[in-house]
Symmetry: C2
Subunit: 585 residues, 2 copies
């Protein structure tokens, strides 16, 4: 049976006292765009009534808060975010973002799903309940990203998607990244879409640079949104097709200048919401969360009430949430008191009428005591340093031709291969005299005895080894090293920690972040994770050059990239979606 | 399993030919508010692609229509309408409204539900499928309107509401008219609301003049919309509470001047849609349907694209229809070609890509052959003219004090009672010498042997009798007469016709409209119904004064009115919701 609203009606009628009244505020009405003085009455976690001057309160509320003439706006909703990118488990993520005014997030647990499958999704749902933040989950649509080119810890077909869609708190199918599969009619993608259409659930998109007939085919297939636009033209073209635009500024990308300039030229903005996609713990502590994107939008000339509307009501409507995204009768009392309409940190944040943050400090219950996580780093089958050697069977004149991986850009994002003759000693490729080279090993950590060893140029590693279990999308262990012995030490440390980030120098661990939750997340607080990460960063740059991006290892396996990547199955040309031999002909 | 969108994707990609292309149009994009030249490709009833100049078509479509440079806009959606008010069955209603550009209606079968219960709702759903118009149905929430004060043909509790909500084509709970019950926490209303909240369905409101805490309590209970606003202030207050406003102009009310003036002062209009509520057959033929309201809005200064957006996309979003209300990839190809953005009659109308109307003429299949309707007028228990007499048991000096019904306004809408001494002959109240009086009889026609005979002043009836089986909300037979014999002739004619409207003069039927479908609707075409109604109108004014509203009988029993009404149970004070004796003390 549905919810009984009779107490709410009685409270609105002034027949029973409310739990909370926030008085003396400038109330921002996201429905009409008006701002006016009001008092807000809350009972049972919902707003009963918003009273204007002249509308008396019949019975005093249990608690009355004086808003001091500040603005009262709805809590922010993040329309698309991967909690795992913060390296915090959901309850800690909640503690980190609520003080910035975020009261609900729609998350894609794509990373943990690639490690732990449905159990990972369940963990995110369950652990998410341990903070006050409303954490909704979408069913990851591309697990693994590209079947056949890599091995992750799980595989989701329509059956698994259906099982997830039926869970409480699941509100859609997460970013459907295989847009090529969608517009080309792939059976796998369209089976998942059919399941979503059948359930009438939200179908979230991911369509970077998609345009023309391909974008039409993607939208016509039922995909409802996109958060990848980097130019104004992209936004306009997607809006024209009826797609919801999640305006994004993440820790990785921010094109707000161009996006805001275009949005100012478009009459209607009600299909525009806001998302953060990937935000690192450090950024969450210092820059903020959804409020940061709001701030960027306002700084680039968007109307403040309009941007607040995007971050609240528009996001709720995108998902069909009927009681989120506004402070209005019957709505959840998710709201924030702010000094100015500029995306700065709120003074007070309420979720379901409960005070959740005050002056930037989360005020909900303490975090749960340390929990046990199953160790997901299964690499015991690698026993010796020799396992990290690149074995050359056919040698001529002491050398072997190798398809060396060469970065194409400073960011080490796109890479090609280049045929180079490398020295061989004892049937092993040897890097002596080639300071510009390093080995890279991607080894399966999900139970399969599969690994790839290759050679990479200009990575920037001078000595030792760096490595991680956070490697999109399959999250196998990626280790870059000069000496096999250092790689083994590093892998053993990753195993010991249950996953994480690690640096080894002279056979010693010099920096690490333990991420025991699926090898992706830490149970520690945002502040602790940020501090540990800073230690790791320092150790990283002791062995790597300043130009080496910290995240180089994390995207070494990303088969969605158009260049050369390394998976546990081999070298892969992401653009052609086919294998490339480690050794050249 | 959900719909397979692979053909749609292939068509968008230009790999398979589309069924239809409409070229050379000025395309109105309701998402962005832009107007630009485009060509629209349709396959399998949905839009595959909207091509701009420079985007070639890879394969020729089965049919290509030259739009001649006219505007292409989405088909209109009526957010709230009672089909019964047109006196046409759904398939004929569809034929009447589609030529005006309406392609979908959300209907409240409240009237037929009061006569036939769930079978009536099923009839509307089934018969609605016989025209191309998309006819969605909402579950009537107040059947009967006021239990205990009147007897209708059915009673809906949460069980019946649930049964209806589970039917295909049912999209919500229809206007929850008992707003007093809602804000006062009535168990009946809140049980129905709980059922709606449980199913996550749309909860439609009806809140005339509701304001302040009562309006907040109504909205807080979960009610999502209202179509009753008659002033700008009402609109603003409801919008502020997050309610969807269905901007209405019906055959009965039109306050567009005030409403449009207020809307122009509000920044956001995406919670405003359009409805017609009650439209008579004659108006549908001459004035139009949703397009008429669009025209009124534009004439009163609203932006044309904005009003078109209200009549299309906004209505679809109100209901959560994800593929209606726009001409965009994946959306149903419900669209119209119009000469100007002014609400005038479209040149062409398509529904699901199929041509549905051309130059004002419906072009779908012919109407189904005449069908048999069960006769719902069960009044055989009234056998003689004497049954229409007002029997006075206690007479003093040949007279009896009677609570005579006296209209308070020219429209005969509000009425009071006034104690008057009336002559009695043979124990029967006699109107000799009182030309200003008439009898009114409301007799149950749903199987109960219950009737009320009372006296009404200044109704305007000079001779004979007028009567109807269309009498809101219980639709019992209402007959106003000077002589009992004429009333009997009229009732027998209503029975013979299976219900309808009728005039009797000198014992002869002089005008009638047969409404055999539940005593509410005719299976004939809109043109025939309008012609018959015109004949009835002429006969009506032969026996009634020019000041007598044609609809006086139809609202004689409406217990929602605040004044005196007559039901099969007695005289009722609508404001107090209690009975008043026919005879005075």
């Amino acid at each position: 049976m549905g919810e009984d609203r009779r107490r709410l009606a009685a409270a609105a009628m002034g027949k029973i006292p409310c739990d909370l009244t926030v008085k003396n505020v400038q109330y921002v009405n996201v429905f009409t765009g008006e701002i006016y003085p009001a008092e807000v009455d809350v009972i049972d976690g919902r707003v009963a009534r918003v009273r204007c001057p002249g509308e008396p309160q019949e019975l005093e509320s249990g608690e009355t808060v004086d808003g001091g003439g500040n603005y009262l706006i709805p809590g922010f909703i993040d329309a698309h975010v991967h909690v795992e990118s913060s390296m915090m488990i959901p309850e800690q993520f909640g503690r980190a973002v609520v003080p910035w005014g975020t009261t609900a997030v729609c998350t894609d647990p794509h990373e943990i799903a690639n490690v732990l499958g449905i159990d990972g999704v369940k963990f995110m749902l369950e652990n998410g309940k341990k903070s006050l933040l409303r954490q909704y989950v979408l069913a990851p649509s591309c697990v693994p990203a590209v079947p056949g080119l890599e091995n992750s810890g799980a595989e989701f077909g329509e059956k698994e998607i259906e099982e997830i869609l039926d869970m409480d708190g699941v509100v859609g199918i997460a970013e459907i990244m295989d847009f090529v599969g969608v517009y080309n009619g792939s059976e796998r993608m369209h089976a998942i879409i059919r399941k979503g259409l059948e359930k009438g659930t939200f179908l979230q998109g991911h369509a970077p640079l998609l345009t023309g007939k391909e974008l039409s085919a993607y939208a016509a297939s039922g995909i409802e949104s996109d958060h990848e636009s980097e130019t104004g033209e992209e936004i306009r073209e997607k809006l024209r097709r009826g797609m919801h635009i999640n305006l994004r500024a993440s820790s990785l990308v921010n094109h707000m200048d161009q996006l805001a300039a275009e949005i100012r030229q478009i009459p209607y903005h009600d299909f525009i919401s806001i998302c953060t996609d990937d935000v690192h713990a450090g950024d969450l502590l210092t820059l903020g969360h959804v409020n940061k994107v709001v701030r960027y939008g306002i700084e680039h000339g968007l109307d403040p009430v309009d941007v607040i509307r995007m971050a609240t009501l528009n996001a709720a409507r995108e998902y069909g949430f009927k009681d989120l995204g506004a402070v209005a009768p019957g709505y959840r009392a998710d709201m924030q008191l702010v000094r100015a309409l500029d995306g700065s940190r709120p003074k007070l944040v309420w979720i379901g009428g409960q005070l959740a943050a005050e002056q930037g400090v989360y005020v909900g219950e303490d975090a749960a005591p340390a929990m046990d996580f199953p160790n997901t780093v299964k690499a015991g089958w690698i026993r010796a340093a020799e396992d990290f050697s690149l074995i050359a069977d056919k040698t001529e004149n002491g050398t072997v031709p190798v398809n060396v991986i060469v970065p194409l850009d400073a960011g080490n994002v796109l890479r090609k291969t280049e045929r180079q003759e490398l020295m061989v000693r004892d049937h092993r490729v040897c890097l002596d005299g080639r300071e510009d080279l390093a080995f890279v090993c991607v080894c399966n950590r999900h139970g399969l005895e599969k690994k790839t060893v290759a050679v990479i140029q200009n990575f920037g590693l001078r000595e030792g080894a760096v490595g991680t279990t956070v490697s999109h999308d399959s999250h196998n262990a990626v280790i870059v090293y000069r000496k096999e012995e250092d790689a083994l030490v590093l892998l053993r440390e990753l195993e010991r920690m249950g996953g994480g980030l690690c640096v080894v120098r002279d056979g010693q661990v010099t920096g690490s972040v333990a991420l025991p939750a699926a090898g992706l997340m830490s149970p520690k607080s945002g502040r602790q994770v940020a501090e540990e990460f800073e230690g790791y960063r320092r150790a990283f740059y002791q062995v790597c050059g300043d130009d080496t991006p910290l995240l180089s290892c994390a995207i070494m396996s990303l088969t969605a990239l158009p260049g050369i990547v390394v998976t546990d199955c081999g070298l892969v040309d992401g653009g052609k979606q086919e294998f490339v031999d480690v050794f050249a002909d």
